[in-house]
């Protein structure tokens, strides 16, 4: 009898922890979406100010932001609808890889040092949030 109680308590605690993990991961995925929206808006402003003159490079930066949004959305769906940690981590990993590509090559398209630094900081915020979400789910 005593042993049964222990097992039930353990199951309850484990379920509680798992549910909390999902919720925290969702909050982080939402925060990553907010930062990515800020990144996308910063690109538009930098373009309007004439700091991203090349059309192809501008398009590539925008497409990267779009890809991050799609992957983040897929991660949210994996967490929310399927409780699929592995699937969510796979999406987050792809988003992080996209961010790393942007940081190493894409940001050179921004022809203003201050603006480039500011946009890099936004990308680091997105990356940090995604890394936290991944760590939580792992």
């Amino acid at each position: 009898m005593h042993r049964k109680r222990k097992i039930i308590a353990l199951i309850a605690v484990a379920l509680l922890l798992t549910a909390c993990t999902y919720k925290q991961a969702l909050v982080l995925a939402r925060d990553a979406a907010v930062s990515n929206a800020a990144f996308e808006q910063a690109l538009v402003v930098a373009r309007n100010d004439g700091f991203i003159p090349d059309n192809t490079e501008y398009a590539n930066l925008l497409k990267a932001s779009k890809r991050i949004a799609q992957l983040d959305d897929a991660a949210v769906n994996a967490i929310m609808n399927q409780h699929d940690k592995v699937g969510a981590i796979a999406q987050i990993d792809q988003a992080i890889a996209t961010l790393d590509d942007l940081t190493t090559s894409g940001l050179a398209a921004i022809k203003n040092h201050d603006r480039q630094t500011a946009i890099h900081a936004i990308l680091l915020a997105v990356r940090g949030t995604l890394i936290s979400a991944k760590a939580l789910l792992s």
């Binding site: 199951i11 484990a14 379920l15 798992t18 999902y22 919720k23 779009k66 959305d73 949210v76 409780h83």
Partner: protein, 65 residues
Amino acid sequence: MTVAEVLALIKLIEDLAPSGVGLVKSLIDRLTGVPEAQIAAIAHQINAGVIASVNAELAKLPPGA
């Protein structure tokens, strides 16, 4: 219970959790006051906004960019 038994049980619960976690989730929603579905909906809305905005910007560019 031995430590090995506890660890095995935790592993089993982790594997089974996706199907049994719904009840606990609704309990946490009640405790924290922010429904999980609402957080997911906001994230979806923001991501959809980014995608729409990017598509609008891309449409302004000349073909082949």
